[in-house]
């Protein structure tokens, strides 16, 4: 699995209220919600994002509410991956559970610039900034989480009847 696209750059502490404002949460419909992704800090994101693009952010990405709608709208917009210095724990868990690829890599998150062309290989965790030619190695997932990702999400992994040891 991999993704290749342009980088959208965001700061530290991007919270779930700006990823998807609660005023829109009167529907669970991901396509409808995705129209408002990031709108309170970046109104142009939804207009500009193309399939496979990459979000690059600082520390504590996805802090705040437990709303699973947050990773869901990022994924539904076509975003191929979120690279951050670090993630808030519920967002991290939700992203894995719904199958939004996320990677922790401090150097990549620091150095990749807005608009850079970035490719990510999820199997190896290698992030390549094609614009600068620089490659980065992201933290690999623990095997248990790799299993959930391979199965396509938490519920599918449960249906397979496998649990970690």
């Amino acid at each position: 699995m991999n993704t290749n696209g342009k980088a959208f750059k965001y700061p530290d502490n991007v919270d779930t209220d700006v990823i998807i404002p609660a005023r829109y949460l009167n529907t669970p419909d991901a396509k409808e919600l995705a129209l408002h992704c990031m709108e309170d800090i970046d109104q142009s994101f939804v207009k500009k994002v193309q399939k496979g693009d990459v979000m690059v952010a600082g520390w504590n990405f996805g802090c705040g509410s437990s709303r699973e709608h947050a990773p869901l709208v990022i994924k539904t917009c076509g975003t191929g991956c979120v690279i951050a210095k670090g993630f808030a724990r519920i967002f991290y868990r939700n992203a894995i559970n719904i199958g939004l690829p996320i990677l922790e890599c401090e150097a990549a998150a620091e150095e990749i610039g807005a608009g850079d062309q970035v490719s990510v290989d999820f199997d190896t965790g290698v992030i390549l900034n094609q614009t600068t030619g620089k490659a980065y190695q992201a933290q690999p997932f623990p095997p248990f989480i790799q299993h959930i990702i391979r199965c396509g999400g938490l519920l599918k992994s449960l249906k397979e009847g496998e649990t970690h040891e």
């Binding site: 502490n13 919270d15 209220d17 700006v18 404002p21 609660a22 005023r23 949460l25 009167n26 529907t27 669970p28 309170d40 800090i41 520390w59 504590n60 802090c63 705040g64 509410s65 437990s66 709303r67 699973e68 709608h69 990773p71 869901l72 670090g86 808030a88 724990r89 519920i90 868990r93 939700n94 559970n97 719904i98 623990p142 248990f144 999400g153 938490l154 519920l155 599918k156 449960l158 249906k159 649990t163 970690h164």
Partner: protein, 421 residues
């Protein structure tokens, strides 16, 4: 090396003698919770995965609170999804209009959660129940769906920060000032992935409402959970209320903590978190220049009886400042009823405030007090992110009920001075 209180509860629920920080475990769940926003997504996942039944109808709680009474047609559809699911699976802890309250005020009050429990909830403030000596954490809707189906959830055992509380709070301070002070010290990711373990001689002087408020905002420091030891205050609260027998866990004397932070409660002052992060804290006394348009007293953080009482003591016989809209939201029907019976409801109206049925409403910018561009609100809620309570150019300041009520009278941010009322 011994275990923290959180680690002991997790070990017991995983059927293990010992766990260590970083270990992945599968834990048995005592309660799985969802609300009117997160449950519809969970129901969808539950159905998609073709699960036929919930693991235990008495261990699932569904509370309609965020946009209820339904704020619009779409919200009504979401409530309907929850209602139909609860009905078809005979969920015993289903709370609809008339019975409902803000989930984290309601479940402790109704005795649905108790000491020693392992709880997940599809709401980030599920960490509130640590006040009762439970392990309790927020998750997403897919985890809720899996939890409802299997009664299990995976956890990474957290490391811990110990907060050693000493002394006693001043009369114009409450649990809210304690947790805002702590978040100001350690930051919004200061306890990321960790448990916040509140201990020390100062614990006994904190009421249950203070402890619920403190644990409620553990997530605002990025924590997995917050937790208090079980003492006489806990047992008095649980007695006659708890549906299941409480189980008491204690941290080992040689438990490992990444950090120990001493908090002298006597030194805590009325504290306000300024826009747009809960870590931007300042003493209320330094913010007298901030004029406010709205005050909200309520939410899962501060919608409990002591919060209402603080508001009453300060607002009774007074008038709120010209140009300030004051919205008071008791957290549950029982608290609302107490406000009526004790004459507080009338006092609030006489002071020029409005009193709402229980709802999360304005806290997350849902309804019942949305802000226009440029407006400032002082709220007893838990988040002050960009656009949290309305327009992206509005601002939310977080504070205690004492500070909120005093500010409502002043028209600008102001701390309550004892003897003022």
């Amino acid at each position: 090396m011994g275990m923290t209180m959180t680690q002991k509860i997790l070990a017991a629920h995983a059927g293990l003698d010992k766990v260590t920080a970083g270990q992945l475990i599968n834990g048995k769940l005592d309660i799985v919770l969802g609300n009117d926003i997160t449950t519809p997504v969970a129901v969808n996942e539950f159905k998609k995965a073709d699960f036929r039944s919930v693991f235990d109808r008495d261990r699932v709680a569904i509370v309609l609170d965020h946009f209820v009474p339904n704020k619009d047609i779409k919200a009504a559809e979401q409530s309907k999804t929850c209602r139909e699911f609860a009905c078809s699976h005979c969920v015993s802890h289903f709370y609809d209009v008339g019975k409902m309250g803000i989930e984290h005020a309601l479940l402790p009050e109704q005795g649905v959660v108790t000491a020693g429990d392992c709880i997940i909830g599809a709401d980030s403030h599920t960490c509130t129940y640590g006040a009762l000596g439970a392990f309790s954490t927020g998750v997403g809707s897919t985890d809720m769906a899996a939890g409802m189906a299997t009664g299990m959830a995976w956890f990474k055992v957290p490391s811990a920060i110990r907060f050693n509380l000493t002394g006693k709070l001043a009369k114009n301070c409450s649990g809210k000032d304690v947790i805002l002070t702590i978040i100001g010290m350690i930051g919004v990711d200061g306890a990321l992935y960790k448990s916040m373990e509140f201990t020390g001689g100062g614990v006994s002087a904190l009421s249950m409402d203070d402890r619920l408020c403190i644990c409620n905002m553990a997530i605002e420091a990025g924590a997995k959970n917050g937790i208090f030891p079980v003492d006489d205050v806990t047992m008095t609260y649980l007695n006659g209320r708890s549906e299941r027998p409480p189980v008491v866990y204690e941290a080992d004397a040689d438990a490992e903590y990444e950090r120990v932070i001493d908090i002298d409660l006597t030194q805590i002052v009325p504290t306000v978190a300024c826009p747009h992060l809960p870590e931007n804290t300042r003493p209320a006394s330094e913010l007298h220049g901030v004029k406010i348009d709205q005050v909200v007293i309520g939410s899962c953080t501060n919608g409990r009886l002591e919060d209402m009482e603080a508001a009453y003591q300060i607002l009774k016989g007074k008038k709120v400042a010209q140009g300030v809209r004051v919205i008071i939201i008791p957290g549950t029907m029982q608290i609302l009823r107490e406000c009526v019976e004790r004459g507080w409801y009338t006092a609030f109206i006489d002071a020029g405030a409005v009193v709402s049925t229980p709802t999360c409403g304005p806290c997350l910018g849902g309804y019942m007090g949305i802000l226009a561009a440029g407006e400032k609100c002082l709220a007893t809620t838990n988040r002050n992110f960009v656009g949290r309570m309305g327009h992206v150019d509005s601002e939310v300041y977080l504070a205690s009920p004492h500070t909120a009520a005093a500010s409502a009278l002043a028209g600008y941010i102001s701390e309550y001075q004892e003897g003022e009322a």
